[in-house]
């Protein structure tokens, strides 16, 4: 199940764990990424708070936690190669995995069709 947020993140749900990344639309807006900072495995995320940072040559942008939960994995390959987050944001450029604290928070997120309409 793939969900999207109005902060331009995607979540792919497998059981109670969601893989999170930025959308291709967000990646296009940000331009070439040169640095990313991810939460630590085991960190507790709060929906709406900054969970990660992606940086282009020009600027740093926060990536907000789309849901509450505990970080179970991070994409070390993307830390070593931030470019992949820009070039393949919904594949090799995923950011982290989070065990959902409150699955009902998914109800407020968009499906793919709704997100595509949202970004126009």
């Amino acid at each position: 199940m793939l969900k999207y947020t109005d902060e331009h993140e995607w979540l792919r749900l497998e059981g109670d764990v969601a893989t999170v990344g930025i959308t291709d639309h967000a990646a296009e807006q940000l331009g070439d990424l040169v640095f990313i900072e991810l939460p630590k495995v085991g960190a507790t995320l709060t929906k709406g708070a900054a969970a990660a940072v992606v940086e282009s040559v020009k600027a740093a942008s926060d990536v907000y936690a789309p849901v509450d939960g505990e970080v179970t994995a991070i994409n070390e390959a993307a830390v070593a190669n931030p470019e992949s987050v820009g070039t393949d944001p919904q594949g090799a450029g995923w950011l982290y995995r989070v065990r959902l604290g409150d699955p009902s928070q998914l109800d407020g997120l968009m499906d793919e069709a709704a997100y595509r309409a949202f970004v126009g």
Binding site: D32, V34, F35, A60
Partner: protein
């Protein structure tokens, strides 16, 4: 909002090239093109980049007496540089100083045919014009020149430009020449804001647009946006007015003392006589309290403008701050500039920048971060 923005004479080109346009200093300007900031930066270092810098202010200063020496003497009352010694066909870097010793603006000054041409920052051109009219308007006419300004920068710039303006191949760094293109007269200078060899060409709107189109058709030339312009100048260690320098920063603190020659310093034949001379000459003699420095963060995390700088990892009070910072594509790592107390400004010193609550070690390093590619001879 968008409707009130000015458009440069090259505006049509940006749309054709697919630029992402942003408001900058009251103009609609290209931030980047489809190539993207990173590759635009690298392309400029490897081949040639074309920048629309028509938003910058061009101001012509002429002596009312008709004697260029009178204009030079007048300009020396607002600039702490050697204007009288600037030969015909030569250009020099300088800055308009304020009574308190700060910098109203930094600029390029060229001695071209019957006038001095000042090229100033877009955001300051109205303030500069008012300042010049007030200070030297009696001795000189001070007139804004509305025309296109095209920067062509990079190791391939000379070859590409010389196909259209053969005279540029004879120019060396900081030469200024009157040129003609498509039936209109303009000015070419061999300088820029990237640390690369290159040129800036001022032409009336129609011929300027024609030259830009001709240059973009050359195989080595690509259009480059403001984003890469900023990362290129940062790697070159060049100041951005409003960030690294400003009304509170003296030229000596800014590391720009090299632009103030002996003749304008204490003991010189034309010492002082410019706004802020008392503070600036004292700092030249005794050293400033703080200095602009280059900073190389040790890790990969970019350290950006505004970050507080600390003398140690656990110091409670900041000693300075980052004035420009980001990622240097040609250096493949973060680079920054900042203002530090003189005691901490020596290359080799380690200071700590605070980024998202963490103290990141940064080495004070000499500027520029990479050697310039100027054609000096």
């Amino acid at each position: 909002m968008t409707a009130s923005l000015h458009e440069t004479p090259l505006h049509a080109l940006h749309g054709e090239a697919g630029a992402r346009m942003v408001p900058f200093a009251g103009y609609s300007m290209p931030l980047h093109y489809p190539l993207g900031l990173l590759k635009e930066h690298l392309h400029t270092r490897q081949a040639a980049g074309l920048f629309d810098v028509s938003h910058m202010g061009q101001i012509a200063v002429r002596a009312r007496s008709g004697d260029p020496g009178d204009a030079a003497r007048a300009l020396e009352t607002v600039l702490p540089i050697d204007v009288l010694g600037l030969g015909l066909g030569r250009q020099r870097y300088g800055f308009l100083t304020l009574q308190g010793g700060g910098i109203l603006d930094d600029l390029m000054l060229a001695n071209v045919s019957d006038h001095y041409l000042l090229v100033v920052n877009a955001a300051n051109k109205a303030a500069d014009l008012a300042h010049l009219l007030d200070a030297i308007g009696t001795a000189c006419t001070v007139e804004p020149v509305e025309r296109a300004l095209i920067a062509l920068q990079g190791p391939g710039a000379e070859a590409a430009l010389a196909r259209h303006l053969p005279v540029v191949a004879e120019m060396r760094f900081m030469d200024a020449r009157t040129i003609a293109f498509a039936g209109e007269e303009g000015v070419a200078v061999r300088s820029g804001y990237t640390g690369e060899d290159g040129f800036e060409v001022a032409l009336p709107p129609a011929s300027g647009l024609a030259l830009a189109r001709a240059l973009l058709a050359e195989p080595e030339v690509k259009p480059i946006g403001l984003g890469a312009r900023d990362s290129l100048r940062l790697e070159a260690g060049l100041c951005l007015h409003g960030s690294d320098i400003g009304p509170e920063t003296s030229p000596v603190e800014a590391g720009l003392a090299w632009a103030i020659p002996k003749v304008r310093r204490r003991g010189g034949d034309r010492a002082g006589g410019f706004p802020g001379a008392e503070r600036i000459l004292a700092e030249l003699a005794e050293g400033p309290a703080r200095l602009r420095v280059g900073l190389k963060p040790e890790g990969r995390t970019p350290v950006r403008a505004g970050a507080a700088l600390f003398g140690s990892a656990d110091a409670s009070e900041p000693v300075g701050r980052v004035t420009s910072g980001g990622f240097g594509p040609s250096l493949d790592g973060p680079v920054a500039m900042g203002m530090l107390p003189r005691a901490l400004a020596a290359p080799g010193t380690t200071v700590f920048a605070e980024v998202r609550g963490q103290r990141l070690p940064c080495a004070v390093v000499p500027l520029p971060f990479r050697p310039a590619g100027f054609k000096r001879s």
